[in-house]
């Protein structure tokens, strides 16, 4: 099954859970198989990932993960000027980075995972998220800024998400 890892990884980060990711990836693959006629030659990975992310956001909506549905324009922004401390970030362990990434709004998580983990081009990300390239570019800039901001926040006690 081509792009199985890509599909699962994207779902895992958008949904912030491994069990959900397995279910939704399976659902997405079934949908992709049934609608293969709708696939017009080109980038199969982008086509599949578009179905995966749509399934993910439908899942979030159905499960009333309300704050996840914030659109780009409504997303809260970190302070405009970054302090030298956040720019000169220290090294972070996997757990810290994972928590920061999961604390980002879903649309930021999605775009960062596609770019940094999946290595998609702006064009591919635009196709997958059905947004203009300009929006992708500015969202990516904001996502990175916010991730850095979260990484400099003090760690709350007992934080950490159970998967």
């Amino acid at each position: 099954m081509p792009h199985r890892d890509a599909a699962y990884n994207l779902a895992r980060w958008i949904l912030r859970g491994r069990a959900q990711a397995e279910d939704v990836t399976q659902e997405a693959f079934l949908r992709a198989y049934r609608s293969f006629g709708g696939f017009q030659s080109g980038n199969a990975r982008a086509w599949l990932l578009q179905i995966v992310r749509n399934c993910c956001f439908t899942w979030l909506q159905q499960n009333h993960v309300a704050e996840e549905m914030t659109e780009f324009d409504e997303l809260t922004m970190p302070p405009k000027t970054e302090n030298p401390e956040s720019l000169a970030m220290a090294s972070y362990d996997r757990e810290r980075l994972q928590r920061a990434l999961e604390d980002l709004p879903a649309h930021f998580r999605e775009i960062l995972v596609l770019r940094e983990l999946e290595g998609c081009s702006y064009k591919e990300i635009a196709a997958i998220t059905t947004r203009p390239i300009g929006t992708v570019m500015s969202a990516l800039a904001r996502a990175r800024q916010q991730l850095r901001f979260l990484l400099t926040e003090p760690v709350p006690k007992g934080a950490g998400r159970d998967l």
Binding site: R4, R12, E22, R144
Partner: protein
């Protein structure tokens, strides 16, 4: 102070999404802007941290098994019982398939022609960009067509028509040899206000894919044929300028 380029161009540069010219421009800016330099370093650190943490999670074995079981079921159509009426239907389906294949083939051919043209346009724009690198523009620097034309003598196996259009706003600046798609071409360099126009001249060959005009990465190109030569003008100036140059060149 926050440099206004940090929000937009810095990320395009960092992600390798800039063309060569934009990247070179940004690198020049980077040397003079400590703010951008610091932010670029911060982006690099963040990327290193993300990739170092190995956050990518591959699909577990359980998912692979589930997909193996569920997908073939979804893909196989329900069994059909055949009857006399059904065989007519199959005939109709077969005819549709043949027709669709024919149409598809036609479509692919036109698509192929289109992508060949795109590929050629990309080669032309590349050659133009190459020529703009310092010291690459002209091998013979002269505004005199009677100096430029003989210079090509013996260097290529054809004598390209060389004319100066200074009176019409396209002063001849010089010429050089170039290789495009494995074929030697004479490149004539014209000025147009502050822009540089390259006109590539090569012997027309059957199957030459570039015709008409187009735009690629912000550069315009116009191609035309005359007296067995194919001319391709390319520049960042307006396409109307290139059309004018074409008309001048076609006029006796």
């Amino acid at each position: 102070m926050t440099c206004e380029l940090t929000q937009t161009r810095l990320h395009a540069y960092f992600d390798g999404e800039m063309d060569a010219i934009g990247a070179a421009e940004f690198e020049r800016h980077l040397e003079a802007c400590p703010d951008c330099e610091m932010r670029l370093a911060a982006e690099e650190k963040l990327r290193a941290a993300l990739s170092g943490a190995q956050l990518y999670e591959r699909a577990p074995e359980s998912l692979r098994k589930k997909l193996q079981i569920s997908l073939p079921k979804a893909a196989v159509p329900p069994p059909v019982s055949r009857s006399r009426a059904e065989s007519w239907r199959w005939l109709a389906i077969a005819a549709t398939v043949v027709l669709a294949t024919l149409l598809g083939w036609q479509y692919l051919r036109s698509l192929n022609r289109f992508s060949q043209q795109q590929a050629m346009a990309a080669l032309i724009v590349d050659a133009h960009l190459r020529s703009l690198q310092p010291g690459h523009l002209e091998d013979v620097i002269s505004t005199d067509q009677h100096t430029v034309k003989p210079w090509f003598d013996g260097k290529i196996d054809f004598a390209p028509p060389v004319r100066d259009f200074a009176n019409n706003g396209f002063p001849l600046m010089g010429g050089r040899l170039d290789v495009i798609d494995g074929r030697t071409a004479a490149a004539l360099v014209y000025g147009r206000r502050k822009h540089i126009v390259n006109v590539f001249v090569a012997k027309t060959q059957p199957g030459d894919s570039l015709n008409g005009s187009g735009e690629l990465q912000g550069y315009h190109w116009v191609a035309w044929q005359q007296n067995g030569f194919t001319f391709t003008a390319v520049s960042d100036t307006a396409s109307a300028d290139l059309d004018q140059l074409k008309q001048l060149s076609l006029a006796p």
